[in-house]
């Protein structure tokens, strides 16, 4: 009885979680505009979507922003993690780690608003009249900022785990400190760096709140576009767009999970061999 109850409970949870998504996917293939009845399978809304130039530009913008923000955040974040690891004073270490986590803990709406105020101040100081001129840079800075903690969070444990012995060995064998980092440390913390980058990429991809505050009119991202369209009547071409996003996020998740399970089993194998 208990077993059935827990199964039913599990199904219920999944149903609540996924029925809305399934509905969106289903109706994206609807032949008519109706959101109430399914009148036949068709790819009409997808073709409509791909005809819309606006959607294409928004997609391109989103990708450009997500790729560049996650790359910059990865470089800065990895360097920061290494710096935090090398800090001697424990108090400094804890303080800096907490400070870097603020953008993650802070409600997005607060981060967004403070970013907007900051860029407004920058405009008045440098006498820039047109926000669109610095719009992209502002977006890039904002996205990099809120992506940064995720990179540090994923790289720092790796560096801690690796310890000093490998870099000591590299120095001993003739590497300058910089060479030791790139030739020995980086390859060994790579999994952490990559997963940090993937996380940063997805965070930037689906950010709406901060982009809403900071985004200029000439640089619209997909979440902003969808939001602006919902103000009018929602047409199923938005369902089609949502379906594409859901599926790509799903694929990305599967890939990164597969990688981490592989790594996990490889580690377990290694440990098993050692105990033998």
């Amino acid at each position: 009885m208990k077993k059935y109850a827990s199964r039913i409970y599990l199904c219920l949870i999944f149903a609540i979680l996924y029925i809305p998504l399934v509905t969106v996917i289903l109706f994206s293939f609807n032949a008519t505009e109706s959101t109430a009845e399914f009148s036949g399978f068709s790819l009409y809304w997808y073709s409509e979507l791909f005809k819309s130039e606006e959607a294409w530009i928004a997609l391109r913008n989103t990708l450009i922003l997500a790729v560049s923000a996650s790359l910059i955040a990865t470089v800065i974040g990895t360097a920061a993690a290494e710096g935090i690891y090398k800090m001697r004073s424990k108090i400094c270490k804890t303080a800096i780690t907490s400070v870097t986590n603020i953008p993650m803990m802070n409600p997005d709406i607060v981060t967004g608003m403070s970013m907007m105020l900051f860029f407004a101040a920058v405009m008045s100081i440098f006498k820039i009249a047109d926000y669109n001129k610095i719009g992209f840079v502002a977006m890039l800075i904002s996205h990099t900022t809120f992506c940064l903690p995720y990179v540090i969070l994923s790289v720092l444990p790796r560096i801690n785990e690796l310890g000093n012995s490998l870099s000591d060995a590299a120095l001993d064998l003739g590497c300058t400190p910089l060479q030791a980092f790139f030739k020995v440390k980086l390859p060994n913390i790579m999994p952490g760096v990559v997963s940090g980058m993937v996380m940063a990429f997805t965070m930037s991809l689906d950010d709406f709140v901060i982009s809403y505050f900071v985004g200029p009119t000439n640089f619209q991202t997909l979440p902003l576009l969808i939001y602006s369209m919902t103000k009018k009547t929602v047409k199923p071409d938005m369902y089609a767009l949502s379906t594409i996003i859901i599926i790509s996020v799903f694929v990305l998740l599967i890939i990164s999970n597969m990688k981490s399970t592989k790594r996990l089993s490889a580690n377990q194998k290694k440990k098993g061999a050692k105990t033998k």
Partner: protein, 372 residues
Amino acid sequence: MAKLIELKGITKSYDGEVILNSINLYIRDGEFITLLGPSGCGKTTTLRIIGGFETADEGELYFDGTEISDVPPHKRQVNTVFQKYALFPHLNVYENIAFPLRMKKISEEDIKKRVTEMLKMVALVGFENKSVSTLSGGQQQRVAIARALVSHPKVLLLDEPLGALDLKLRKDMQNELKTIQKAIGITFIYVTHDQEEALSMSDTIVVMADGEIQQIGTPTDIYNEPKNAFVADFIGESNIVDGIMLEDKKVRMSGHTFDCLDGGYDKNEPVDVVVRPEDVDVVKPENGMLTGIVSSVTFKGVHYEIIVDIKGFKWMIQSTDYVAPDEKIGLFIEPDAIHVMKKSKYSGKFGDYSSFSDELDTLSDADTAEEF
């Protein structure tokens, strides 16, 4: 043999705790020198200062006559074999060994020649393309040695390199290391807490305790002529008894006056007397210089380990003849088996077997293995 490395007044402390207290030491070219001591005695720190991973608070470090305290590790002509090998997991065996040569931008042809040479020396030919994580502990150890030697350093530093290996493999590697050292003729500075390892491999042993050097000497010197109670106790088993030097070559302990070979002490000076367990002969009570009651006997394979109570002080004796517990026996000690030492701060702390137990011994060994 010229002085290759010299430490002058090296002092180091962490968070106000003194780790090294004014270490003075020189190391000759081509010798196998061992820094020996218990956990926390500062031996690893000394090695790391020579390697360049730590900087001394005070003192000077000379290499071949030049002060090198400020020279970074990658510019020093010393290489290290680390405690846990520190092989690069992202490179295979060949690339691990080739690593220092690549840093020096040596031609691919020469790299191949030298790596192959090294692989031959450590008997790992055929392992070139294996991942280092698939190797056994002994094989990883060999890769670490090959990698440290391939760039022809003048000095090899070894930080408890055999600590992670099992006993049999450790013995084999001891011989192998000694052979390698003789073959290439460079200086080896070896850090260990294992006295047997130190005795069997070294040309010179430096015994350290509490951040200070206790004694420097050849293995036989250290064993036969320990300077104080700490050294006598740390190197092998010893009975350390309070004694009084009546005059040259006469020492009184446990109520009996013994002939000995030592001299040069004040009249009636209190001293520590060391007698090694294997140097005591068990005789009939009436023939003994000392008599005592056997309190325990343990069979050790080659000999019996006998604990004897002599006037409340427990002696350890190693004998091939069995005696029964609670039996009264006599002890006979030859003059050359007695070694007299000046009193030191370690007097009275070591050399009594009243709380002796094998288990305790192995426990403290495990502790020292943890040292970083």
